[in-house]
């Protein structure tokens, strides 16, 4: 049991051995928090930590994160903790975190996570609450916890400024609503509702969401394509990841081509954005939307 992942080290032994490599200063610093070894269970917290300049030692389901959330880039040395629905506690143990960032979604894991390190839970998505404001609050809370309060304030301000700037530029598009979708196959999409991060960001951009129906936790699963007929004036925004042949097949579908939104050229393929993210996801969404609409006809 030697090698980098050997267990049975006490924290003191770990610090001593790290001292030899010159890393101990960061570990024993009294304000401590500045360079904590952090593990992120929740993706929103993973991206917030990265945005604050903290690279976690471990995080969940990185294979999918790199494909479905994309930003911020996760360095290769971050250990993968496996599926979010099946978290690998042993892998977490090997990563030796000093703080674990979680959310209420993972409450049933709390006791197990606390066995490894202290757990801090940050909640963004709750019924009847604006996810964007909650993401701002979570960024500040995480900043305070990691002694990065200034970075957190800067992140919130940067996001606010970016949205404000894009809002001015997108003002001509305010007449039409935007339908936020994620396609499962050629016949079905998931619609993001009024309580989603996307709808919240749209509002901050001075735009409005087209999905009037109810939604449970931000999205309605598997809506038939024919539902598009009920909102002919809308823009269709396709948020990835989209299965590879779906867009090609859609373009070959007479029904799809005849939809007023499609016929009117009001379809935007946005690429992947994490729909349950925090400020970095909100910023990525706003930037991609702004870029996609640039040069488009707003009528």
């Amino acid at each position: 049991m030697n090698g980098p992942y050997s267990l049975g080290l006490t924290r003191r032994a770990l610090i001593t051995s790290l001292a030899a490599t010159g890393l101990a200063g960061s570990l024993v610093a009294p304000a401590g928090a500045a360079n904590l070894r952090v593990a992120a269970i929740d993706w929103a917290m993973l991206e917030t930590a990265l945005a604050l300049g903290v690279t976690p030692v471990a995080a969940t389901e990185l294979k999918l994160f790199r494909r479905a959330a994309i930003e911020p880039a996760v360095p290769a040395e971050v250990a993968d903790l496996g599926l979010r629905g099946e978290i690998n506690a042993e892998m977490l143990l090997y990563a030796r975190p000093e703080l674990i960032l979680s959310s209420p979604w993972y409450e049933k894991y709390r006791a197990q996570l606390e066995r490894v390190a202290p757990v801090e839970s940050f909640s963004i998505y709750e019924p009847g609450r604006s996810p964007y404001a909650a993401a701002e609050a979570a960024s500040r809370a995480l900043g305070a916890r990691l002694s990065r309060a200034a970075e957190a304030e800067a992140l919130v301000a940067r996001a606010d400024a970016a949205l404000g700037e894009r809002r001015a530029r997108l003002a001509p598009f305010a007449d039409r609503p935007f339908l936020m979708t994620n396609f499962g196959d050629i016949r079905h999409f998931r619609a993001f509702g009024a309580d989603s991060l996307f709808a919240d960001v749209l509002a901050r951009l001075g735009l409005r969401s087209a999905w009037a129906g109810g939604s449970a936790y931000g999205a309605v699963a598997s809506v038939g394509l024919e539902a598009l007929a009920a909102m002919p004036e809308a823009w269709i925004v396709i948020v990835g990841p989209t299965p590879p042949d779906v867009l090609r097949s859609l373009n070959g579908s007479a029904f799809w081509r005849a939809m007023p939104q499609v016929a009117g050229g009001r379809v935007i393929d946005l690429g992947p954005v994490n729909p349950f993210g925090a400020l970095p996801a909100a910023l990525r969404f706003a930037r991609l939307l702004d870029e996609a609409l640039a040069g488009r006809d707003h009528a």
């Binding site: 496996g82 690998n88 892998m91 079905h188 449970a216 699963a221 598997s222």
Partner: protein
Amino acid sequence: MREAGLRGWAPWLLLGLVAAALWAATLGRHLGAGLTPSSELDRLLLLYSLIPRAATALLAGAALGLAGALLQSALDNPLAEPATLGVSAGAQLALTLAALLAPGLGGLGREAAAFAGGAGAVAAVLALTWRRGLDPVSVVLTGMIVAMIASSLSAALILSQGEYLFALLIWGGGSLSQQSWGPAGAITAALALAALPAALLARPLGVIATGDAGARGLGAPVAAIRLAALGVGVALATTVAAEVGLIAFVGLAGPALARLSGARTTKAVLLASPAVGAMLLWLADGAVQSLPAGFDQIPTGAATALLGAPLMLRLLPRLKMADRPQRPVRASSRPAARTFAVLLALAALVLLAAVALGRAPDGWHAATGAGFAELWPFRWPRTAAAAAAGAMLGAAGVIVQRMTGNPLASPEVLGVSAGAGLGLAVVMLLATSTALPLRFAGSACGALAALVLMLAMSGARGVGAERFLLAGATLSALCLAALNAVIATASTRAFALLGWISGSTSAIGPDEALVACAAAVALALPLAFVGRWLDVLPLGAPVARSLGLGLQPARLALTALAALLAAAAALIVGPLSFVGLVAPHAAYASGLTRPSAHLAGGALNGAILMVTADLLARTVIFPYQLPLGLFASLLGGAYLVWLLRTR
């Protein structure tokens, strides 16, 4: 005779009218009361969505009905249909593989893949049951196991890619929502291609139905005819699977209801089944679209089982079916003591491996000393919970198998585990708190209701082993379909239920593990005193009375125990592990035939299987882990296939 036949079809006329009325209502909701498109958009909707959807429902229903009729004639097996033969699940696995390996595959490629998967599954089922003369129960049992292995593999593949839920939901549910004539066209083509062979096969299949000997006497090439009918049936079913997904039950209900309505000859069944299937699916699809907002996203495939299964249960007693005698399980004559020694040694070995072995980023490790001490708190709870769940399922399986005298009965097959899930779902939907006692109460009530229903059916006169299993499989399908419908609403509760169905154990802590072990002990201890009951019960009331045993109280106590065991286990590993079927089987086959020995052996086997599954689920695709329930069904299914083959 003719009049009776006509009267048999009268309900279908009525159902057809209901389906048409539902469709008219759907049109009205989209187009307004006049049912005429008032704009270009409405015209598009009518032409590319509403009409193709109805056409697809009718065509897919017809294809499935014909497929079911062909498969049933080919195998001389009234339980055969695409789902029970593993055809649909095999097609789904092939399509999942194709989506992962060759994402750009077009329509025809997808259909070829689906056909290969479905045909492969049937071929496996037939090869495995060949030596048993394709005995109907063996074929369907093997088919269900192959189906379960295939769907577990599909789910594991999807999960290992980190793709959650969305595609899985559409797929598993079988949504009929349409925006083109493509799927309707493909199914029409398949039906057209199948019509001629089906017509040509009708007479020879009818001759075969009179008995192989008679057919050979007439010079009919029996094997070739059966194979041709199988091929056509599989092609029809896999086309539907590739175009609209999994729609269970129509292939079973179509021919069965056609026979009940008066179709006597093979030719009549082949003609009537597509009509009945088409009507059923159209009706189901109309019903789904008429649901209030929020529930109208429920996939039609879930609804067919919800509508079809109760109908089936209701009509089952009237179903004409030759109840063949069960072939007894051949037991080894090895002395019980030696078998127990082997099992105990195996259990010790597996438990040791489960807590000591694991993978780290740099490879496999056998933990010792301080490393072991640090890993112990993470490994023992899930291992203990897995062992407890396995033991409880094994014991419940022994009780159910002995009470019904049916070696193929088990909590999973009889819908007891799925009933527990339904009870759990009700608690999650209605209660504000989801504390463990409440969840257990819910799943125990569900399990008990399912088991009482099944035992009532097994006790009813004239219900033989086959009918009983069919009723159980139907009940199981019904409960799982209801769960699918809840999951399709995609709420947080749906996520929790999905986690439960896949049997996730990674969050189990020491408290839950202790509760699981306590439940196993508390529920297993009374079993030590009921060994004699299990011996006596199958002998009937007079013998039981003469031995001073009240038949009803004994049955009641055993039923309650089995339901509680199954419910507690299902809370931990979900409804699909198959361990409750495999463990008692293996115990009996290895010579533990006396009730007490059978119980102890079944429980030990269950624990061994489940702990092994947990160890593998934790390590095979490290650092990713798979849910235990899914993995156990792979292991249990593979074991059972082997058992069936060598038996």
